[in-house]
Amino acid sequence: MPIWIYILSSVIKSALVLFILLTAVAYTVWLERKVVGHMQNRWGPTRVGPFGLLQPAADGVKFLFKEDLTPPHVYKPLFLAAPLIAVIFALTSIAVIPFGNAVKLFGYTFPLQITTDVNTGLLLILGVTSIGVYGVALAGWSSNNKYSLLGGLRASAQMVSYEISLGLSLVGVLIMSGSFSLREIVDAQGGHFWGFIPHWYVFPQFIGFFCYLMAAYAETNRIPFDLPEAETELVAGYHTEYSAMKFAMFFMAEYANMITVACLATLMFFGGWHGPIFGPVILQALLPVFWFAAKVFVFLFVYIWVRGTLPRFRYDQLMAFGWKFLLPLALVNLIATAIAVAW
């Protein structure tokens, strides 16, 4: 393929994925308010548009037009950089995620992925998400406020602790598939056990999946692990001093991270875009992407469901859970998988 087609297709894919991702972020917020509302016997947003569907747009406009306050006591360069770091790395990690098989158009094949398939795709995602910690940590420190500082400290300690369990829980899948490439991992999950159970890694790796899910909730600072922004103790945690669009950027980063985590769970444990394929050619081309999106949606729904159900942990419980239960469990799962595969 000529270089200009390659560049053009990359630009179009990036713009498209970014648009879909940001829309998904906005509507995940809407979904969360709506679902948690119904769980608590309320309606959630109803005023703006049918079923409150235009609420995200109204919120976006509101964030843009609010006064952007910078308190006088903050350390300005890092106070401005922190939301940028958080949102940039949250949006970057989507770049290596494949959404479906390659598509043939005008005689060229285009992979449904922003980058071409890199053979260390998973490591790149883990690397980019691990840089995202700085956004939260620097926001807490540069605000020069005790609540922010405590929130930032809690967040960085929590994310560093659970990153180990997160990485280890994925190693079981890596051992079974023998590749770091996300596309190869998904391809290895085609077919069925005994003809009817899908060949997804969640079945042999259910302990790994449990560890991944717990660690992922903690990594994204969601309930029951949302200690960094515990309202009852810390006002709003690391983003106490932020307002207007800078606050919205932290919000966007959190929801973009949720979507990345859900995409990764789909790819690693639930067979990615594999699912029943039927019907005419155009439907056959679209169904894999639909299955991928549907699985990601299920994960996002579970996130919201958990938020509507569980209370918040205490901080020492969080640390004890991460280091004394989750990490040994992930290690045991890793060793058991290694023995099973070698044997």
């Binding site: 490591l123 690397g127 807490g140 420190w141 930032g152 400290l153 990153e163």
Partner: protein, 177 residues
């Protein structure tokens, strides 16, 4: 000038500028952030050479884990602004010529023992599948010895950090929180 050379020079410039900024900044957190920029630029150089795995690990381990702990400690201690001194006289009289001689030696060794051609972009086989046999077969013993060394360091850190047992009547700070 190929794209690779331009990128190589750009990453190199970022790394050198970050390293100089690390020394010039007076606030520890700015220095730590400069160090992160150096690490990330080095990862970019590895990526240009084709060592994808090394680049990813560089970002995850150094930029993502080690430096987070640095920043964490700086935040926790709330370290203040450092004062720049003129430096000791020994550092200037011995350090600067020493650094010059050292870099000349390295350049001489590199130029003498490698061919005249520069390393081509993507020349290193850095895929995980080529690194794994080296780590787990050929260099297994050094690899395992390194991990034991790290284990000993962890145990030493635990011993140093744990407080001596006090009388049970007075609760320590750790028991309270």
């Amino acid at each position: 000038m190929s794209v690779h050379l331009i990128l190589f020079l750009a990453f190199g410039a970022v790394a050198v500028a970050g390293a100089i900024n690390l020394l010039a900044q007076t606030h520890p957190i700015n220095s730590a952030l400069s160090l992160i920029a150096v690490m990330a630029a080095l990862a970019g150089e590895y990526l240009l050479l084709g060592a994808e795995f090394l680049a990813a690990v560089q970002v995850i381990v150094y930029a993502g884990a080690v430096m987070v702990l640095f920043v964490f400690v700086i935040m926790l201690l709330n370290a203040g602004v450092e004062e720049h001194t003129q430096g000791s006289r020994i550092a200037i009289t011995l350090g600067v010529p020493g650094a010059l001689i050292g870099s000349l030696l390295i350049a001489w060794v590199v130029l003498r023992h490698s061919g005249t051609e520069a390393v081509a972009a993507g020349a290193l086989a850095g895929a995980p599948k080529t690194i794994a046999p080296l780590l787990f077969h050929e260099f297994l013993l050094p690899f395992e010895i390194t991990s034991i060394l790290i284990l000993i360091a962890i145990m030493g850190a635990v011993v140093l950090a744990s407080k001596p047992p006090t009388s049970p009547a007075a609760p320590t700070l750790r028991e309270v929180d």
